[in-house]
């Protein structure tokens, strides 16, 4: 078999987190009863006109600046014409001829090392509605709530060569957009969707192979599988001496295979032309500078700062800044308790464990940093021991409780009464004569066992250090 190279470019659609839609005042909130977030404008009623939401331009500029793009100082909206029931005007307002941003890049780190992936362009557009097929009534109903929700489409250059690079690109892109607060990037709600353009060619070939497009992938895992599957399919075709057809394919993640949807010949002619209802947008130097001045700290800068200012190991800083929510909790908890290493430990060990156990993403963390900071203080002051603290943290993680109150109410404070502890130890020693003899014979390992027995008898509410000290004292 010849040796092949896979060439991948992505089109990522990202719903912007503006309060109102791109061309009307309706809310962009996800969910809601069907057709309750609509007005005559976003439902395309006759005589209505679009009015651009400036915030959309701000957000597109934020993204473009963060991705090192050139800003199109005079950009326009175009109409993309096609018939479909989820598109009430029968055209989508988008940007073809003069998109707002061009020529940017994202630097990724994949198994292949550091690499720049080019951004061809970013353009602004409106989302369409949703069709819901009612199997029971055998009819299709339309929900226009999503109609007019603002999107940016980020089109990469065909610079990626593997599923690994694609995932690294997407993860980086997602983080940048989240840090910019321009999108929540919730793939399960469709606020981040990717189309994959993929072709294969013999290694060393200068020309691209024929590409296929896979639409609307909405999980990283599905994307990785779809890429593996599609490159295998194309290589097999070439190996059999067949040709790859230029077409749009649909990846069925359940069946682990893709299906042809429509070929190039069936491709629609969208008859793009400038939307006469929307004047061109002039973007001044001052406007760009204002956005630049307001750009927040992004992941790479944040990571470097954690390492430098807090002495957090690079790996840990990477994990914590790998989620905007986690980084947020880290920073405010450190602000409150001034113990960056402790906060980092709680996030790296217990939080990661609980996320895994509960099958959650870091973005779904919902406890407050105050409660974590209080917990750390409780341990630090010796009010509770680490074992108890872990138990309390589990409750903070799920129910965001106030640990001070919780410890108080559940009587979890460490017993510092040395008299009571001595009595318990005496009892433990009496019940475990064998271990006592072992220790006296030099088998110090058994000390641990006796500490454990004492802690058990104390129902965990003792300082293990203190138990250890008293035990040693009483044994000698």
């Amino acid at each position: 078999m010849k040796s092949y190279e896979t060439v991948i470019g992505l089109e990522v659609h990202c719903e912007l987190d503006t309060k109102s839609k791109i061309f009307c005042g309706c809310t962009t909130q996800f969910g809601g009863e069907p057709n309750t977030h609509v007005c005559p404008v976003c439902s395309g009623m006759p005589g209505t006109l679009p009015v651009l939401n400036k915030q959309v331009v701000n957000y597109a500029l934020k993204a473009g600046i963060a991705l090192g793009c050139d800003i199109t100082r005079y950009c326009k909206f175009d109409r993309k014409n096609y018939f479909y029931p989820d598109l009430p005007k029968a055209y989508q307002i988008s940007q073809l001829y003069l998109p707002i941003c061009r020529n940017g890049y994202i630097e990724i780190e994949a198994e292949s090392g550091r690499k720049q992936i080019g951004i061809h362009e970013i353009h602004m557009e409106e989302d369409a509605g949703k069709l819901i097929h009612d199997e029971w009534e055998d009819c299709t109903i339309v929900d226009y709530n999503r109609c007019g929700v603002p999107l940016i489409e980020i089109v990469s250059e065909p610079d990626m060569r593997s599923a690994g690079e694609v995932i690294a690109y997407l993860e980086k892109l997602k983080l940048i957009l989240q840090y910019l607060s321009v999108s929540d990037c919730k793939m399960q709600e469709g606020s981040l969707r990717a189309d994959i353009n993929l072709s294969v060619r013999e290694v060393g070939s200068e020309v691209f192979g024929t590409r296929t497009e896979m639409k609307n992938m909405n999980s990283f895992k599905a994307i990785a599988r779809a890429i593996e599957g599609e490159q295998k399919r194309q290589i097999e075709l070439l190996e059999e001496g067949k040709t790859v057809l230029q077409e749009t394919r649909r990846w069925d993640d359940n069946k682990d295979t893709s299906f042809g949807m429509r070929s190039k010949e069936d491709a629609q002619d969208y008859r793009y032309f400038p939307d006469p209802d929307l004047p061109p947008v002039s973007i001044s130097e001052a406007w760009i500078n204002k956005i630049k001045a307001e750009q927040p700290e992004l992941r790479d800068e944040k990571k470097a700062r954690y390492i430098k200012a807090f002495g957090i190991p690079e790996y840990d800083a990477g994990i914590i800044t790998g989620s905007k929510v986690m980084a947020g909790i880290f920073e405010s908890a450190v602000d409150l308790c001034k113990k960056p290493k402790e906060v980092s430990n709680w996030l790296m060990v217990e939080t990661m464990r609980l996320l895994k156990v509960n099958d959650m993403e870091a973005e779904e963390i919902h406890f407050s940093s105050e409660n974590l900071a209080k917990l750390i203080d409780l341990v630090d002051k010796g009010v509770i021991n680490r074992t108890v603290a872990k138990k309390v943290y589990e409750v903070i993680f799920t129910d965001d409780i106030d640990p001070e109150q919780y410890v108080e109410e559940n009587g979890l404070k460490m017993d510092t009464d040395d008299g009571q502890l001595r009595m318990v130890i005496e009892k433990v020693l009496a019940e475990n004569e064998k271990s006592v003899q072992d220790i006296k014979a030099g088998k110090t390992k058994a000390v641990g066992y006796l500490v454990g027995q004492t802690m058990k008898a104390m129902k965990g509410k003792a300082d293990p250090g203190m138990v250890n000290r008293l035990l040693t004292e009483m044994l000698s």
Partner: protein, 485 residues
């Protein structure tokens, strides 16, 4: 006093003085409509109950001292049926929308209501404003009040005919390529197409968005200027509306053209123009010269390219604007479709008339890949050159004088069979829309067939006041001639 013969301003004054109540005025107007409209078919919808209800309300408010600054409080107004009026069917004279009732007012309707005008009904038009005769209406053609065997012009034929037939003193039309001015000329009334961006398009059902403008039609220049002053102004709902506008149109109502420089394009009085209309234009020039204006002939370039450029641009935009009528959400839906494609095909095939389909086909063609540059982009370049030709003319002249249309009102019946010939009738009007300029058409004489002749004055952008001044001065030299009704 025959109330329905009064101009809008005269009627408004009588109402303010308490000489007549709004209800009386509206009742009388409704009875004229009832008596005449079977003959002329100007209206698609007349809302008798609603009009009388409004009349009562406005009368009370007038008595309470409201509408102090409105000269048309209590005056009935007719609205072209492509302008949305809440809870009134707004059909665009199409089967596609014959049951469509918008849940919102167009911005101009809100402004009329604030001024205390009474919305009396919706007027007939060419389907989706595509046509120059009002014969493409799904509801049948409107007849010209001067001669019922003639067309009223179009596409605002119903509005112009209603004003001429005294079924209403003033009306709103819309003008994309001459649709206010040409029917005004054919019906012997006055109409203004404002500078693009002067009047909000919000609630105007789009034909060609970059060219459409709403404007007034009346029997006097003063009525039109006053109505324009009421409906003009920036609207946040229309991004193409102009932010700061000097609404000083009625200041142009002075009988004084001394020192004004007026250009008559040679290209506008050459081949293809009816002799009697040419004479009327030259006569008007002489009259204005006698009043102290400086009148010259000049060459306005690009005139021959205006019609092809217009039909490419307007059709392209129309093909996109009219795609939303797909039978899914509102309006007409064909029965017995078995799948989505069939719903679209049958609905659109049955719901649209021939002329609309023709323009949508032209539009889809010129926008399709491979043809876009050759047609659409080329047409935009021509549009820019036309604007430049006008810009050059306005360096020398305050306004341009010419005919509104090459003929007077055409015979009913044969016009739709030869669309190219029909399109040529737009030669003097379309370039004004392409350049976004204001223009006024006013009656100036009657031809040997007994039909009114219209002449046109074209101004530079936002120079409505200038053309109103020219038109007012000319209007003062002859009495208004009404058709025999």
């Amino acid at each position: 006093m025959e109330l329905t013969r009064l101009s809008a301003l005269e009627l408004g004054r009588e109402i303010k003085k308490g000489q007549v109540t709004v209800t009386q005025a509206v009742k009388e107007q409704l009875s004229v409509i009832k008596a005449r409209d079977a003959k002329y078919q100007c209206f698609i919808t007349v809302k008798t109950d609603k009009a009388l209800e409004q009349a009562e309300v406005v009368q009370k408010k007038i008595e309470l001292g409201e509408y102090k600054n409105s000269p048309i409080a209590g005056v009935p107004v007719a609205i072209k049926d492509n302008i949305c009026v809440k809870e009134m069917t707004t059909t665009c004279a199409s089967k596609m929308l014959d049951n469509f009732e918008p849940g919102y007012h167009a911005t101009v309707i809100g402004k009329l209501k604030e001024a205390g005008a009474i919305i009396i009904g919706k007027t007939n038009m060419d389907e989706f404003a595509m046509g120059s005769t009002t014969e493409t209406s799904h509801f049948g053609e409107t007849k010209n009040p001067w001669n019922i065997e003639r067309v009223p012009g179009g596409s605002s034929g119903g509005s112009a005919a209603a004003v001429a037939a005294e079924e209403v003193p003033i009306a709103l039309g819309s003008d994309t390529g001459g649709s206010i001015r040409q029917p005004s000329a054919f019906c012997g009334v006055t109409g203004i197409k404002p500078t693009y961006g002067t009047v909000s398009r919000s609630g105007l059902i789009a034909y060609a968005s970059s060219l459409d403008q709403i404007g007034p039609i009346g029997r006097t220049v003063s009525d039109c200027a006053s109505l324009l002053e009421i409906i003009a102004g920036h609207d946040i709902k229309d991004s193409t509306s102009v932010p700061e506008l000097a609404k000083n149109y009625t200041e142009g109502l002075v009988d004084d053209v001394k020192g004004m420089r007026i250009g008559i394009p040679r290209d506008y009085i050459g081949e293809g123009l009816g002799t009697e209309i040419k004479e009327a234009v030259i006569q008007a020039g002489k009259v204005l010269e006698d009043k102290g204006a400086i009148v010259e002939f000049f060459n306005l370039d690009m005139v021959d390219y205006a019609i092809p450029a217009y039909y490419v641009i307007a059709s392209a935009e129309a093909s996109s604007n009219l795609s939303r009528y797909d039978g899914i959400k509102y309006g007409y839906r064909a029965k017995e479709s078995t799948n989505l494609q069939e719903v679209y095909k049958k609905t659109r095939n049955e719901g649209f008339g021939q002329e609309v389909k023709r323009r949508m086909m032209i539009g889809a063609f010129v926008l399709s890949s491979g043809y876009y540059d050759a047609y659409y982009i080329k047409a935009l370049q021509v549009k820019a050159l036309i604007k430049k030709a006008f810009d050059n003319a306005f360096k020398k002249y305050d306004f341009i004088l010419g005919p509104t249309a090459p003929t007077t009102a055409l015979k009913l019946g044969n016009n739709l069979n030869d669309p190219l010939k029909m399109y040529l009738g737009d030669i003097y009007t379309v370039s004004v829309n392409l350049a976004g300029l204001p223009a006024i058409s006013l009656p100036y004489g009657i031809d040997s067939k007994g039909l009114p002749i219209g002449i046109q004055m074209i101004g530079d952008v936002f120079k409505e006041k200038t053309i109103i001044r020219g038109a007012y001065a000319l209007e003062q030299t002859r009495p208004y001639v009404r058709p025999v009704l």
